[in-house]
Assembly symmetry: C2
Homo-oligomer: 280 residues x 2
């Protein structure tokens, strides 16, 4: 596995690869890799001829007071893991390589679908996501890029980015990988204390309960929201949001009639976790 730290070097590598008509698969990550990421890598390996992974904790997508400083960083372990998974190249830039002095061009998603869910709580978050993803797309020049369904709104924003700015890239969304107890895999799980980790499985349980209510005919979002809220707050989780949205447009829904995505953000101590389920 080649480890590349400079954008120009990555571009010449992938340009050479493309000339051989190999298909490039790309998995952008912020590192601290877990089985969710490895599922993305596995999809890339299956669907392309040359797999590139990037690890970059993107400062621009973190707001003031968010966890940029404390976000887990495990480069050594990540590299070993990626080598063992048959990744062809790792792009591992420093912040000053991605945002050199004078940097001043941002990719900004606008409109309703970034004003709900995480976009409402983290106002410039998706501006940071779109900016870094546009950069990475131009650096890695993939044919296909893989993202995890756990970050549902991010997936919608990136699909929109690709359509709006005409990136000639196929976006594949890979189902959320979960721990045995149902907790969605996330690098931030590493920051949970043992007790918090155990409690956090309650997020998924509450989503399952919500799904069950919908299957049994409940359509009032308030009723379902109350159930989720009760189930999460009883073990000390703090609700950031519980939203019912159209899975395509991310627009808020007033009734829980399928297709619905129920998306939640929950604070467990100082860690903010997100999860979602679709009911079709």
């Amino acid at each position: 596995m080649k480890i590349i730290r400079k954008a120009k070097e990555m571009q010449s590598l992938v340009s050479r690869i493309r000339r051989t008509r190999k298909k490039i698969g790309f998995v952008p990550t912020m590192g601290a890799l877990h089985r969710g990421h490895l599922e993305l890598v596995s999809s890339a390996n299956k669907n392309s001829d040359f797999t590139v992974v990037s690890i970059f904790v993107n400062p621009v997508q973190f707001g003031p007071g968010e966890d940029y400083g404390s976000y887990p960083r495990k480069a050594g372990k990540d590299i070993a893991l990626l080598k063992s998974c048959g990744v062809d190249a790792l792009f591992l830039p420093q912040v000053k390589e991605m945002y050199p002095q004078g940097f001043s061009t941002y990719v900004v998603p606008e409109g309703k679908f970034v004003e709900t869910l995480c976009g409402a709580k983290r106002p410039r978050h998706f501006r940071g996501v779109d900016t870094v993803v546009a950069k990475l797309f131009n650096i890695v020049k993939p044919d296909i890029a893989f993202f995890g369904q756990k970050d549902a709104q991010q997936c919608a924003v990136i699909k929109r980015l690709v359509r709006d700015l005409n990136f000639d890239i196929d976006i594949r969304i890979v189902p959320t990988v979960r721990e045995k107890d149902g907790l969605a895999m996330s690098s931030r799980n590493l920051r949970l204390l043992p007790r918090q980790r155990k409690n956090a499985a309650g997020i998924y349980r509450s989503l399952m309960a919500a799904k069950k209510m919908m299957k049994s005919g409940v359509t009032k979002t308030e009723k379902i929201r109350e159930t989720i809220k009760k189930m999460i707050t009883e073990w000390g989780g703090e609700i950031d949001y519980i939203s019912f949205v159209n899975p395509e447009t991310m627009e808020d829904l007033t009734t829980a009639v399928p297709p619905v995505m129920i998306a939640v953000a929950v604070r467990v101590g100082r860690v903010r976790l997100i999860d979602n389920i679709a009911v079709n």
Copy 2:
């Protein structure tokens, strides 16, 4: 010359071309082509193996009350001209192809270099420019793209776009082509009445006078600005701005010590014209 109206079709054409290792040269325009554009095409022909020109009057870079509606459109004449110049492909999309319903991702330049000159007078102009240029770059996938020096601030903004978002594209700036009397070639010249057209040559004369003052040792921007202003207003031109900027950063300069770019925007009747000269 192939005429292509759909982004996807353009992308498959250039992908095929790239696989043959041909170098793609790109000249984005808003049509109503003049000798300035043809100079760009000629540079593209010389420096690449496959020349693509686009014609698209980009609504997003026009502000309310600006000349989007009255901007000259001459598709038939333009097509004939490009055919005669050995252009390989023309990208000629409609507005709804470039900005379909739901479009909501913009590329936004920030910071000082878009707050001066035209950026100060046309607040969202360069957001529109960066957005359409990013789209066109992803559609045409050029190795080299050509822009005219007349639009000096646009050149600076686009160089910044390419650096910041890591477009793997070489940007070439081609010197301004002028009419015999010195007026910088511009599609907007078509909108001048005969008398205005004649007067407008005074813009360049005033820039030449300014250059002469600098060569003779004048460094006070106010003194030079007064001369330009006098020379332009005496035939009825209305000053939008007269600026002394660093040619690289577009930052305002307080003294006229080379390297300086003197950039002006002048209203001649209802037509706004820009021009600039560098003094090194």
